[in-house]
Symmetry: C2
Subunit: 527 residues, 2 copies
């Protein structure tokens, strides 16, 4: 191929065909939310996609059920490979509806042995635990009583393990079993999102606990992903980059080249496919816009870098939702960069704020409704807030005569933000009027708005629980359609101060306290 | 270094100084026994060895207790590294006695939350599980009842987890934590062997379950150990080879060279130190003596090999006693060899019979006692057996006039077997007289003598549970002092028939049935 041909190839838009579509659930925010409830678009299960085209005769459900039953009923020795192969291959060929039926059967027919539990509870309640000083020598009788006590407790613990646990344990020793189970959990999450079935939720919660145990950081290998890696691995990166999609080979090569790093966590049982990966830019200073990260050309020399900027973190396995591998990945990458490049002293992110516009627009809408009701009833509402400050109100109303309509500032703002094609972002005038209220309200959204004591924004919650602090808001930091749609162009820098990570994480975990810079607090004073 | 100097170095007897002594508990038989009760010589804990020389002031126990308490009490986020470091380093500096105190505290003070368990049991007994057809649509009320039911069950399961579980989980995410816990379990096994303390046994049984979960085959990497591996890894092989000690560098190099293979299982959290390793010889036929395996020179060409002979399997971690990693290792090695060398079709072992002489001598001793009692009482005993056949009795008595003394065949045999320096093995005459009864009784020991339905011999039990069959007994197969002492020179070939492994394992597991060749059955007919 000549030089020109190669250049064309490298710039050709990439459309992976053998890999699943990028689903919302592979975004870091989704990984962290843990509820799986946002998978309702049904995109989350890759296995599921392939199956619908291969719909099988009805009889198959029974066959798969039989191999599932064998796998659970056979004794605990290693004679299961053909049975597990039948089961997992059979499962993948089932239609979505049949999978759902099978998982309901698994959850309910192979549940906790409740008769056994009741029997053991009766035995347990019949014994009294010997009390007294723990360091005192125990008598022979006490020791034998203690032995029975511990034995019954252990038996009770085992009896409370559902019978389907055996299937999961067997699958975990089976080649490809771990990968299969993450796919199966992807299905489960879709099913639960569609309809809350208690048995399926119990199955999911159990499987999630098992996956957490198997995917301990000790078993994960940190891999520096480079242009020398196999195409089959790089293809996974392209397919699963959920934050800033990779447009072509040139884009991919740049992200793996000078001034950039990409690290993935690999599990020995799922070779060649990082479970999660992070993209890092080595910069002279903390970047303010994603444009300068994705398209700085040429990149600044690595020897001049003082900042490692995490600009993207993506999971490849929807079935691992709610299992925080990112926390360990970030920690290990910081350690690695610190060791290899002592001149890099700042560890920051340039992060999206995926829930901001959603929150703001519903806030504005509810204020408009309240105002409407007030006009009719002429009574004051306790839910009314002064969302806008007087000078913001004035500036917006002044805008309205020129560009758009609205009876008050809130209405003007609402109309601007929801206008097609984000016209406001193309007008310097509108951009400058919106900047004030949008930045101020964004600080409020990130620091003050909470759900069960945690930051409402999923990405904020992710970095805060890992021990980061909120450093800076950046206006017009992401001008892409997605950026305008999600966060009105704003991006945020979270900073990881290595000496404060543990303290911050602890404060956030225990008290929901969020660390933020003085810049951020400055916005909040105006709220 | 000149050629001669190198030759001398290579033949120098190796005495690893930085590694622990080879302890009986690292032999495969011990790994499989699972009871840990044979560690009573106190050699099993390597950490322990170093500690006694570093005895610390008494105050340390309190300090280590404090860091242990912090590690358990702090919230579940990742802020624990310094605490865990303090705890694990502090523990290793404690004297054996203080470690024992600390582990008793851990087992008893951080036990199951019994008040919580009792509270949940009351809630649990108050609910009734909705019955009926599992595939039927459930009502909204049933779903909400089911939800509470599953929730209480999950909470009960969690409450039945001792508080010390948190410590183990944290340690597992901590660098070096897994290795530390195997050392800690080594200590526990020693302590339990000395004195049966119910709390320590409960702690051990719990820790063992956790280790089994963490060390699933999926997380273990099969590594082909070669002469190109780092010396630090090869040193571990020398230190832990428990079956046929490696005498010098030439011996080691041969075991890694042409016609030989050595494979180890590595866990990512314990780098450079195989948890278990197996040594394989590629031979023209199944070997009859260990001498020809260890000292065949030159080795036969690999292209002519038809048999892969497993002649040694050793564990490096006493703290993993009772956790069968060997089963998976053998299976994977068979797969690998089959793939790489299709001309190799026989997979066999040449194995020691570590418990044979022990069993035989106590059998002989009890028969002598019974005979003595009979002579005094002149009453027949129901425990009397005809251990020897008439012609064996005659041959032994004939021997006795020439070489040794004894009133009957059993006494002559006993005297021969217990004579110093195994003199009998040096006399062709005695060797030929003993061969008949020793081989016959060995077949009986391996196939018929059982304990709880399993083979009495630990190595036999190991291979049988993995699906092997007993193929052949080999006379004068191990003339070393150890070989004469343990099994009167006999070694056994177990054979893994790849098409029968699963069936054999299943039959042995379910019914204790032992598969043996017609040769072996031939011996048994004479019993």
């Amino acid at each position: 191929m000549n030089r020109k041909g190669l250049a064309i190839l490298m710039r050709t838009k990439m459309r992976p065909t053998t890999t699943p579509p990028i689903s919302p659930s592979s975004e870091v925010g989704e990984i962290q939310s843990g509820s799986g409830s946002k998978n309702s678009d049904g995109n989350s299960s890759m296995a599921l996609k392939t199956s619908d085209s291969l719909r099988n005769p009805e009889g198959d459900l029974k066959g798969v059920w039989e191999s599932m039953h064998s796998a659970i009923s056979m004794s605990k020795i290693d004679i299961l490979d053909p049975v597990l192969k039948n089961f997992s291959e059979g499962y993948l060929k089932l239609s979505y509806e049949d999978r759902r039926k099978l998982l309901v059967i698994l959850a309910r027919e192979y549940d906790v042995r409740r008769n056994e539990v009741h029997k053991l509870i009766q035995q347990y309640l019949g014994l009294e635990f010997p009390s007294g000083d723990i360091m005192r020598e125990t008598t022979h009788e006490e020791e034998s009583l203690l032995s029975s006590f511990y034995r019954i407790e252990r038996n009770l613990r085992h009896a409370l393990q559902p019978k389907f646990e055996v299937l999961f344990e067997h699958l975990n020793t089976h080649p490809g079993g771990l990968k299969f189970m993450t796919g199966l959990r992807g299905d489960l999450l879709s099913m639960i999102a569609e309809e809350k079935v208690a048995a399926l939720r119990a199955l999911d919660s159990y499987l999630k606990e098992k996956l957490v145990t198997w995917l301990t950081p000790a078993t994960l290998e940190l891999h520096h992903i480079t242009w020398d890696d196999p195409a089959s691995l790089l293809e996974k990166i392209v397919a699963h980059e959920a934050v800033h999609p990779i447009s072509n080979l040139t884009d991919l090569k740049r992200r793996l080249g000078i001034g950039r790093r990409c690290f993935g966590y690999l599990h020995p049982a799922i070779p060649g496919e990082p479970l999660i990966f992070i993209e890092v830019a080595l910069l002279k200073d903390v970047a303010r816009t994603i444009q300068e990260v994705l398209w700085d050309s040429p990149p600044s020399p690595e020897s001049e870098a003082t900042c490692a900027l995490f600009y993207s973190i993506s999971s490849t396995q929807p079935g691992l939702a709610g299992i925080n591998l990112g926390k360990f990945l970030i920690k290990r990458v910081i350690e690695l960069v610190k060791r290899d490049m002592p001149h890099v002293t700042k560890f920051a992110t340039l992060s999206p704020i995926p829930g901001y516009m959603n929150w703001l627009q519903s806030k504005l809408a509810s204020q408009l409704k309240i105002a409407e009701a007030e006009n009719e009833d002429r009574t004051g509402s306790t839910f009314k807030e002064d969302i806008l400050q007087p000078e913001e109100e004035r500036a917006l109303l002044k805008l309205s005569t020129e560009f758009t309509s609205g009876a008050n500032g809130v209405e003007v703002m609402m109309n601007l933000l929801t206008s097609t094609n984000y016209e406001w972002a193309k007008s310097d005038k509108m951009v400058s009027v919106l900047r004030g209220p949008l930045m101020r309200l964004c600080a409020r959204y990130l620091v003050i708005e909470k759900k069960r004591g945690k930051a409402l924004d999923s990405v904020a919650n992710f970095h805060l629980q890992n021990g980061a602090m909120i450093e800076r808001l950046n206006w017009m930091a992401d001008r892409s359609t997605k950026g305008l749609h999600q966060s009105g162009s704003i991006m945020v820098n979270y900073v990881y101060r290595t000496d404060k990570i543990e303290e911050n994480a602890q404060l956030y975990f225990n008290e929901g306290r969020i660390q933020a810079s003085s810049d951020i607090h400055h916005y909040l004073e105006k709220v």
